[in-house]
Amino acid sequence: MDTQFHVLAVDDSIIDRKLIERLLKTSSYQVTVVDSGSKALEFLEVREVGVNLIITDYSMPEMTGYDLLRKIKGSSYLKDIPVIIMSSENVPSRINRCLEEGAEEFFLKPVQQSDVNRIKPHLMREKLNSLKRKAMVECISPDKTRKYSNNNLCSIFLQNICE
């Protein structure tokens, strides 16, 4: 019943792309890697794909990781996807700015296995939240033939987890 989480990694450095891809795959995530923010947004537009987390480099030409973060958080259908920022530079104001804009974490490069191990809780939390949202939607279904007691809600919830 292990759901495979799908992580989208964004980095303009070919070496760092290879590294992050390998790190994520050792944690058994399904991984897509792109080399720019615009390519990331193009990929995210294909909604059937279902990305569970985005990890992006900060310093990229044309669109920085911060710009990408803002676009994601400003999008009604993307804003709930957790975003992690990576950077080779330890600049507190930069880190704060990203966290304030809604990034979950900030990893200093080179990214280590121990950093990647911190991703799971964000994925689990978002999975739980999306199930709750789904259960809520079912709860207020216009189908008046079904009565929604607490028991029914629990079973809908559990049903969704087990899918």
């Binding site: 450095s13 070919i14 070496i15 760092d16 290879k18 590294l19 390998r22 790190l23 050792t26 310093s59 080779s88 490069k109 080179p110 280590q112 296995q113």
Partner: protein, 151 residues
């Protein structure tokens, strides 16, 4: 040479690269990411590093050769080189980058050229060392041995 001897040479050579500061802990991280399902991971990453660095060093040479040097561009290239050398654990190359960026800030072509010279030297040294290391690995494998893991 028999396998045991090759393996000992390999271990000693690897240890010297760390001891002399050519490689740092990040290189060990790369080695740990290599396994039976990804047996060539280190060679692949390092090969990318070689290609990327040579491109950047060429770009740097050209940028510093202009009549009006674009120091922002030079700095951008050095920043990239710093990132990639850091990601593979090429410590001495990485350490050349901060002084280089200072020279860019001071917009001093002459000192930048000296930094470039230094970083080229360090790059060629580590490239040579890593190629030797990979050759030793190949010899061990060809002789039927396993590549020793360094702790």
């Amino acid at each position: 040479m028999e396998v045991g001897q090759l393996q000992r040479s390999f271990v000693e050579y690897m240890a010297s690269l760390f001891r002399e500061g050519f490689l740092d802990a990040q290189f060990s991280q790369l080695q740990q990411l290599q396994d039976d399902s990804n047996p060539d991971f280190v060679v692949e990453v390092v090969s990318l590093f070689f290609e990327d660095s040579e491109r950047l060093l060429n770009d740097l040479t050209m940028a510093l050769d202009q009549p009006n040097v674009d120091f922002k561009q030079v700095d951008a290239h050095v920043h990239q080189l710093k990132g990639s050398s850091s990601s593979v654990g090429a410590q001495r190359v990485k350490n050349c980058c901060a002084p280089f960026r200072n020279c860019c800030e001071e917009q001093n072509t002459e000192t930048c050229l000296r930094c470039l010279q230094q970083i080229k030297q360090e790059y060629l040294l580590v490239k040579n060392k890593l190629q030797t290391l990979f050759e030793l690995e190949q010899q061990i494998v060809a002789a039927g041995g396993a590549i020793p893991m360094l702790q």
